[in-house]
Amino acid sequence: METLHLELPSLQDDTLSPQTLLHGVVSSGNLEVLVEPGPDAARCVFEVQTAAHGFSEVWQAVLCDFASRHPVGGLTFSIHDAGATPAVVSLRLDQAYQSLRTS
């Protein structure tokens, strides 16, 4: 497994519910993401554990786009990845964000 820690600037959305949330499943080509309150309102934190080696640049690009696409400051996203493609990563993160908004 490869691990990745990333802290990125992002806007904060006060209306998001502060509860923790788990989305997705760790299975081949898929991932789970645990969303929790983070330490800094202006930043979001990503903790990634991935089965695919050598993709830190791609992860960085995907997560940067996500952090600029949505106001997710003040949140921590912990990811267990079992070889999801970047498209699936983005989709799961978007879905997790959407669930936060509606829960």
């Binding site: 923790t20 788990l22 997705g24 499943v25 760790v26 645990l34 554990q49």
Partner: protein, 306 residues
């Protein structure tokens, strides 16, 4: 936007199954993912871990009755039982006694023991069996729900059959050894695991219901599982009048003696019968069985059972 189809039990994650089975907003999870109790044994083998180790346990309401719910995630390592996973199930069964739950809903979706921690998994399943007996002895019915991608196999196939009721979808499977294992050891002539139709005629919901191993055949629809589980729960005896109590109950002995005769009769079926199709033929049912929907199929069997 579109008229939505019934929510598939098979396609839903363990978490979504729990959500769909319980009264809205009533679920409280025990040892949830934020606690990060993951498997150290998977990590030691550099295999991916999951925040809940592939099983969701907690309590909630079903038709306003307090129930304990346990749901295995079939997509994570085939729903296989490891040390943490097994301990969560065992703990939840024991807690059902503590909180005097009206029932336990056990969503089995598992190939059995997790090989990465095989010894811990095997012992854990034995411990789950003991805890399940304890819950039953306390008068709490345990209802198995089988309709996930992995079905209920290995030790979890035994556990599913220990439950007071077993609800299964047509897509659900129930057995001991997976077809792939039998094919690998005994050859493709014994069991062609790629012949899906055959696999389902041996292990699928319809044949399991036919043989009386499943209480009810259901549509692949979470709402159908919820309704059937509620019905089983309401129909079961409550704690006060449970026949299951410590010490030798003549009832319990007689029930098992009757079960023994029933199973002996089934084992005495014509030794040439090796396919669900033959079982149906033996019962005078034909091709029409394949396409009957669950409600029709249950009715057809109930009429025969009467």
């Amino acid at each position: 936007m579109m008229t939505s189809a019934p929510q598939s039990f098979r396609e839903a994650s363990a978490r979504l199954r729990v959500q769909g089975l319980l009264d809205a907003g009533s679920f409280t999870e025990w040892l949830g993912p934020a606690r990060r109790i993951t498997s150290p044994h998977l990590a030691a083998l550099d295999a991916p871990v999951s925040f809940d180790d592939g099983v969701v346990v907690g309590q909630g309401l079903l038709e306003a009755q307090l129930v304990v719910v346990i749901a295995q995630e079939g997509l994570f390592n085939g729903g296989a039982v490891g040390e943490v996973h097994g301990a969560k199930i065992r703990g939840a069964l024991l807690r059902a006694i503590e909180v005097r739950a009206r029932a336990v809903l056990l969503c089995v979706d598992s190939g059995g023991v997790r090989l990465h921690e095989a010894n811990a998994g095997l012992i854990a399943i034995s411990e789950i069996m003991r805890a399940l007996f304890a819950a039953q002895a306390a008068g709490i019915p345990v209802i198995a729900l089988v309709g996930g991608t992995c079905g209920a196999f290995g030790g979890m196939g035994i556990v599913a059959r220990l439950c007071d009721a077993l609800l299964i979808s047509e897509e659900g499977r129930l057995g001991l050894s997976g077809p792939e294992v039998i094919e690998t050891v005994k050859g493709v002539e014994e069991f062609d695991s790629r012949d899906r139709a055959l696999v389902w005629r041996i292990t699928g919901g319809k044949i399991r219901r036919t043989l009386g191993e499943a209480t009810l055949l259901l549509d692949d629809d979470i709402a159908a599982f919820r309704a059937a589980a509620a019905k089983e729960m309401m129909g079961s005896k409550t704690m006060g009048d449970s026949p299951r109590q410590r010490g030798l109950s003549p009832d319990a002995l007689q029930t098992l003696e009757a079960a023994q005769r029933h199973l002996e009769a089934r084992a005495a079926l014509d030794p040439g019968i090796r396919d669900g199709q033959q079982v149906w033929q033996h019962m005078g049912l034909g091709e029409e069985v394949a396409l009957m929907d669950p409600a029709e199929f249950n009715r057809c069997l109930e009429a025969r059972e009467r």
